[in-house]
Amino acid sequence: MNDPIIEVSHVYFSYNGAPVLSDVSLNIRKKEFVAFIGPNGGGKTTLIKLLLGILKPDRGTIKIMGQPPAKAAYHIGYVPQDVSINKSFPISVMDVVLMGRLQFHRWSRLSKKDRIAAKNALESLEMIEFQNRKIDDLSGGQRERVFIARALATEPDILFLDEPTANIDSQGRTDLYALLKELNKTKTIFVVSHDTMVLSSYVTSVACVNKNVHYHDDAEITEEMLDMGYHCPVELIAHGIPHRILKTHGDDS
């Protein structure tokens, strides 16, 4: 329970010579619910892509369940940003979810088991009735659920969601976070979000990503954080601690 599921140590990454992340170290334990917050261009998506093995760090090491990311991607269910996906593509909801059943290094013939797993994933998100609909005909919130179902169909231990609430109204957000909270009982979850509501009663820890990463355990979202000058440059609204605005990190570099 206490061994880290993700270990990042002294990772540097630059894009065309411009440093995006520098000296990032992070240890995440099993069944945490981590929010990645920070400004646009701060490196949140880059960090996710490094963890997924889509990008390779310039320096430093990343281990996921003790393995390099390229090997461990198998354990990760990835929900990419909605905007990054070709919207007008003629594909049914079921076909999208079945993508989650493409297996590592196996020519991807689908078995009955795969179809059942895809159906179960859609059912758990209450989207089974849409299985034959075209993905383009769904609303933003429904599409998000389909992408989560696709990630769940991979039967992951870890779930990465990149800005899952960007196209969803506030009721949809509440529902989505309630769902993630439920999934968090068995899975480690990472959410990239601008949505400060994610920080309320749902997450167990917060990582502020802005070139560096500052990791706050739940216990640290207190007044002490403010006093230590060790804070996130975002507005933070948390249950029980209303309208707290955190100052910028003291050690900007």
């Binding site: 093995g53 889509i54 594909i91 049914s92 297996q103 609303s139």
Partner: protein, 274 residues
Amino acid sequence: MIEALQFEFIRNAVIAGCFASLICGVIGSFVVVNRLVFLAGGIAHAAFGGIGIAFFFGIPYMVGTLGFSLIAAMIMTAVVIKNKSRADTFIGILWAVGMATGIILLDMTPGYNVNLMSFLFGSILAVPGSDIVWMIGLSVFSISAAIFFYRDLLAISYDDEFARLRGVPVNLIYFLFIGLIAVSIVIIIRVVGLILVIALLTIPPYIAEKYVKSLAQMMVFSTLLAVVFNLSGLWIAYTYNLTSGATIILVAAAAFFISMIFDFFFLNKHPEST
């Protein structure tokens, strides 16, 4: 048309048209959803270099054209994988180089007397029986490959990043896919010629795309459309003694504009759902 079927060349043309339709439906759908129409055009025109090679060295048309198109396609694929956003310039260059090579080689072929027009605009009514055998073989091969790799092709077309995470060998599948396009183009050049191959590869899937809910449906619907276009174009060409490639394309284009008008008046739904 029915009595015309007693002629072997008509029977060959109908068979060739049907197999070409199957190709257009299956491979053409992948081309359209991947927005690879320009790349397909590049391969088709580069294929002309292969035609030149076939005549200059006296090797069979299918061997020369297929070989050259596959090589051109593989080079284009490598460039697309390396730099997707700037690949169009390179494809345009290969497009022109293929055409120029073909013309020079045909110029230099002694006693060259092949009708150039038949390669530019097709000669479905003059397809020899030996080429029909090639066409059927290649069609069966490329359709089987597309069906076997359907899930992988669908995955890399829709979301290649996710496919890569699930362990799909994305680049390998991409090479295979462009190779299948090259094979398809060589087949369809026989039917409508290289100038018109793009229209037949793209019009049926494009019309179909608006009315379907999945890629598989798109393939079935566009295959049926292509059969209708091919056979009615063939019938018009036979009846009025016109060039078959051009009549097939004009039938397809007419259907395309009718579908656009139909959409304009009857399919005005599709508000951006959010």
